[in-house]
């Protein structure tokens, strides 16, 4: 895209305002339909039987008694999926229903559809599964050892270094420069090992779907998802269908954060529907969500950084080991890429190993892979600053990546807002506010790549001059409002003349999942381009009416006008007038744009956290929290702030209390909101958002994705704050009170 396309320096009329969201009233009155809210005639209710064992061979499954129960209409096992008999099951299918082995506590082994939930639940008890229990492993470091039980064979890629078990499936390496020389030039080197536990996205709406499939191979699927085109692709493959025959309609979505970018139950509902000949609704319970969807990876990491006395980082090295459950994934690659992204370094090296364990298959969670790696790096940077008695904010500015920096993962940065964001933090009253005893202030940078990807938008000019925008990305945080704003801005009309809807899979071409903080960027870009196409067509129609050249008509403030004095004297024609005549000038007018959007523009954030630690109990209270983030251009500032605040609080939860706890038996011990402790309202202060706008050259209005970066800094910001409040460096998350208290006691005992 040429820079001429960019209009981010002009005065905006709609962009930057805070209009009400189009789906707002439905959501505050309870009318909005989420995944579990659809009911259709003759519908059945489905339930899933799950393995209680973390690792077990399935010897046999006897469903005969369940099938006999009054009201049961279908029972399925892996035998009902032909891909297993063809020997072509995808990882996604094996994760949706276990075939020869159950690979984790909660792995689906069979499912029932019945007249009611009560009957379906009773039927599950009548299914008899014979297991041969196998040894299991859930810890990442244990799983790498050569004597570890092997979780899932046949996945090891060729470049994986020797010396590990078969659970180590892939290896990545990034960096540049001479590390040895860098460390030799350092006055102080800190090297530490860090651990983080798996966290769950914790969306409040459990996965839900309603499937209706007929024997001729057609199906309709309604579900809550971040990407219905991906649901269609995955389900069509699993069911052996052609894409065109499977229509997926996304419901409203009750949170996703990456966890609803893939499928878990949809093929089960389709198979039950096919077998029973009726529509089947399948809704997960909360404990199923924790056990059998896709939490993030857990990690074990070594970080080594060298610094001079005056605060120049001379070299940085990180070795990352991530487990993401029983199937391979590339999350550690993104961790290794992002670990040192905030720094301009001469010598840097990151390595990553992906490890299989008997845990559920990880799914994306907001900036997947980055929070862990950056937590480790930012904790070491903070420790170096503390030990060298240097201001941690100044040191970050001193070493910050900027335009022209060769990033640690390869590319050279374009315009980025890191230094501006750090400067904003430095100027903010929070940074210099006094602290009392047992209190500490933590700081961390955060980074995320952001993505673009395949996107389609159609923009229809209705006969009354209003606009219908059709896009294909589920709205997880107010994107319909920002898309409408961009359409209105480009067309020069008011926001309330535009209505944006999300189409089903058969109404629009392929759209990448709502992920990678891509929607406002990519769908926004396609919407602007679609609006420009519609404007071009409208100018053409007006040129026909006026009898002048197409080039002699231009668009301004929602009307066509003569392009200059030479074009002739004509009164402007408004969009309403043009639309009203469109049938006579060649037919309805629409603009559309299809693109694989590039130029998403990386995003940086800086968080400041103040905490107080109760030294007698190890309990941490967050006193004050400020988020600084570069949004490129904030289309709807309220929803940008919402992303910054929400991501920060998820990160605070991860830092303080959230964790997957596995017992010796390999079973998940806290599969519920009581013991998987996401922050509650009374745990938190207000979260102050400070939006910076350093335009992204890759978007006409300068937009950068904002959704993910905000979860990255809290882990280290909290860790650094707790470490400074107690004068003990912590290196394991979460900072749960027993862990903190035991370190405090140890410190006292060690004198």
């Amino acid at each position: 895209m040429s820079p001429l396309d960019n209009t981010y320096e002009k005065q905006f009329k709609v962009i930057g305002t805070r209009p009400p969201r189009p789906d707002g009233i439905e959501k505050v009155t309870g009318k909005a339909q989420y995944g579990a809210d659809l009911y259709v005639p003759d519908m059945l209710y489905a339930k899933i039987l799950r393995s209680p064992h973390p690792h077990a061979k399935i010897i046999s499954i006897d469903t005969s008694e369940a099938e006999k129960l009054d009201g049961v209409k279908a029972v399925v096992t892996s035998k009902d999926f032909s891909k297993f008999s063809d020997n072509k099951p995808s990882d996604t299918l094996v994760n949706c229903i276990a075939h020869e082995k159950a690979l984790y506590d909660g792995h689906c082994v069979a499912a029932v559809a019945a007249l009611s939930n009560t009957i379906a639940k009773s039927a599950l008890k009548l299914i008899n599964v014979e297991y041969e229990i196998l040894p299991h492993v859930t810890d990442v470091d244990e799983a790498m050892k050569t004597d570890s039980p092997i979780v899932n064979k046949g996945y090891v890629l060729e470049n994986v270094p020797k010396g590990f078990s078969e659970n180590v499936t892939s290896y990545y390496e990034f960096g540049h420069g001479d590390l040895d020389n860098g460390f030799n030039n350092a006055d102080l080197i800190v090297e530490r090992t860090f651990k983080t536990e798996a966290a769950h996205q914790g969306y409040i709406e459990p996965h839900a779907c309603l499937a209706s499939m007929t024997p001729d191979g057609k199906a309709d699927l309604w579900c809550c998802t971040q990407g219905h085109y991906n649901v269609r692709a995955l389900c069509a493959d699993i069911m052996g269908m052609e894409s065109s025959q499977l229509r997926v309609t996304p419901s409203e979505i009750g949170g996703g954060f990456g966890g609803k970018t893939t499928i878990f139950i949809e093929p089960i509902a389709l198979a039950l529907s096919l077998k029973s000949g009726k529509p089947v609704k399948l809704v997960m319970t909360r404990d199923e969500v924790f056990k059998a969807t896709g939490p993030t990876v857990s990690s074990s990491m070594d970080v080594k950084i060298g610094m001079t006395k005056d605060g120049v980082i001379t070299a940085g090295e990180a070795n990352l080991r991530y487990q993401g459950g029983a199937f391979p994934n590339g999350t550690v690659e993104m961790g290794a890429q992002s670990a040192f992204a905030a720094y301009d370094l001469k010598a840097v090296r990151t390595k990553g190993w992906n490890v299989l364990t008997n845990r559920p298959k990880q799914a994306a969670y907001r900036a997947p892979g980055a929070p862990q790696a950056i937590y480790a790096v930012e904790s070491v940077v903070d420790e170096l600053c503390q030990k060298l008695n240097l201001d941690p904010l100044e040191i970050r500015i001193k070493n910050a990546a900027k335009k022209g920096t060769k990033s640690s993962y390869g590319p050279t940065f374009d315009d980025i807002g890191l230094i501006a964001t750090l400067e904003a933090a430095k100027k903010h009253p929070h940074y210099l506010a006094p602290l009392e005893e047992n209190q500490g202030r933590g700081l961390s940078c955060g980074f995320w790549f952001n993505f673009g990807g395949d996107t389609c938008v159609t923009l229809n000019v209705n006969f009354d001059g209003t606009i219908g925008v059709t896009e294909g990305n589920p709205d997880i945080g107010g994107s319909r409002a920002s898309i409408s704003q961009m359409a209105a801005e480009e067309l020069g009309i008011s926001y309330d003349k535009v209505r944006t809807i999300i189409a089903d899979t058969n109404s629009l071409g392929h759209n990448e999942v709502t992920d990678g903080s891509r929607v406002t960027f990519a769908v926004g870009l396609a919407t602007i381009k679609a609006a420009r196409a519609a404007i071009k067509e409208m100018c053409k129609r007006v040129s026909l009416i006026w009898g002048i050249d197409e080039d002699a008509v231009r668009w301004e403030n929602g009307s066509a006008i003569p392009a200059g004095p030479n074009a002739g004297q004509f009164d402007p024609m408004s969009i309403e007038e043009i639309a009203a005549m469109s049938s006579q000038t060649g037919g309805p007018i629409a603009g559309h744009h299809e693109v694989n959007a590039e130029g998403a523009g990386v995003s940086f954030g800086v968080h400041l956290a103040d905490v107080e630690v109760d030294k007698e109990t190890g309990s941490t209270k967050v006193l004050r929290y400020t988020v600084f983030q570069d949004a490129g251009k904030a289309i709807h500032p309220s929803y940008v702030e919402g992303q910054m605040q929400g991501g920060a609080v998820q990160g605070i939860g991860w830092a303080l209390n959230e964790e997957y706890i596995y017992g010796e038996d390999g079973r998940l011990q806290n599969a519920g909101f009581l013991d998987y402790r996401i922050p509650v309202a009374s745990d938190l202060p207000m979260i102050e958002p400070v939006i910076l706008e350093i335009p992204n050259p890759g978007h006409p209005y300068g937009v950068r994705g904002v959704g993910e970066t905000s979860i990255v800094p809290p882990l280290a910001a909290i860790n650094n704050a707790v470490s400074r409040a107690t004068n003990i460096r912590f290196s394991e998350l979460p900072l749960s009170p027993p862990k903190v208290l035991s370190s405090l006691k140890k410190e006292i005992n060690d004198g």
């Binding site: 805070r18 009400p20 969201r21 789906d23 707002g24 009233i25 959501k27 505050v28 009155t29 309870g30 009318k31 909005a32 339909q33 989420y34 579990a36 809210d37 009911y39 009611s116 939930n117 009560t118 996205q201 914790g202 969306y203 409040i204 709406e205 459990p206 409203e252 979505i253 009750g254 949170g255 996703g256 954060f257 809704v283 319970t285 909360r286 997880i476 945080g477 107010g478 709807h636 309220s638 929803y639 702030e641 919402g642 605040q645 929400g646 920060a648 609080v649 998820q650 519920g672 909101f673 009581l674 996401i678 922050p679 509650v680 309202a681 009374s682 938190l684 207000m686 979260i687």
Partner: protein, 157 residues
């Protein structure tokens, strides 16, 4: 297993239903009456998405049996606005962008309304503690708390 016949008043209307003894009031509201504004987030009283009032008391409808509701008065999110006029809390939630995905919103609105009926002038801390049983994963609560405080202010004037 015989069903129980229950008479209730829901959002001002007389409603009767038959329920299995083990069905919760939440199951009835959703699966039988299709009042799906009340959401199931956990089924164990830990998230508050299914908040309703039962004889004027704020409860989790997932922790009430349908059979217990005989002769009771129930209010759900569907009864909160008056025709086309939104309740001030609903309006303030829109004004403050106090929802992102919106799935926790009905429960939070019902709970906040119940707070303001009891305490028309709550402090920030009182709002936070009252709503501690309503989990929101999107917003970090900031805008929710502000919307409730602002609605309270408007309702007092």
């Amino acid at each position: 297993m015989s069903q129980v016949h229950i008479k209730t008043k829901i959002n001002g209307d007389n409603i009767e239903f038959l329920c299995d003894p083990e069905e919760t009031l939440l199951d009835i509201l959703r699966d039988k009456l299709h009042l799906t504004g009340t959401k199931e987030g956990c089924g164990t009283g830990d998230c508050g998405a299914c908040s309703i009032t039962l004889d004027g008391k704020l409860v989790c409808s997932c922790l009430v049996l349908g059979a217990e509701a005989d002769n009771s008065e129930i209010s759900t999110i569907e009864g909160m606005s008056n025709g086309e006029k939104l309740h001030p809390l609903q309006q303030k939630f829109l004004d403050h962008a106090a929802l992102q995905c919106g799935v926790c919103t009905p429960g939070i609105l019902v709970a906040a309304k119940s707070l303001l009926e009891k305490n028309p002038d709550p402090t920030e801390s009182e709002v936070r503690y009252w709503l501690a049983g309503n989990l929101c994963r999107c917003t970090g609560y900031d805008k929710i708390i502000k919307a409730v405080l602002d609605a309270a202010k408007e309702m007092r004037s």
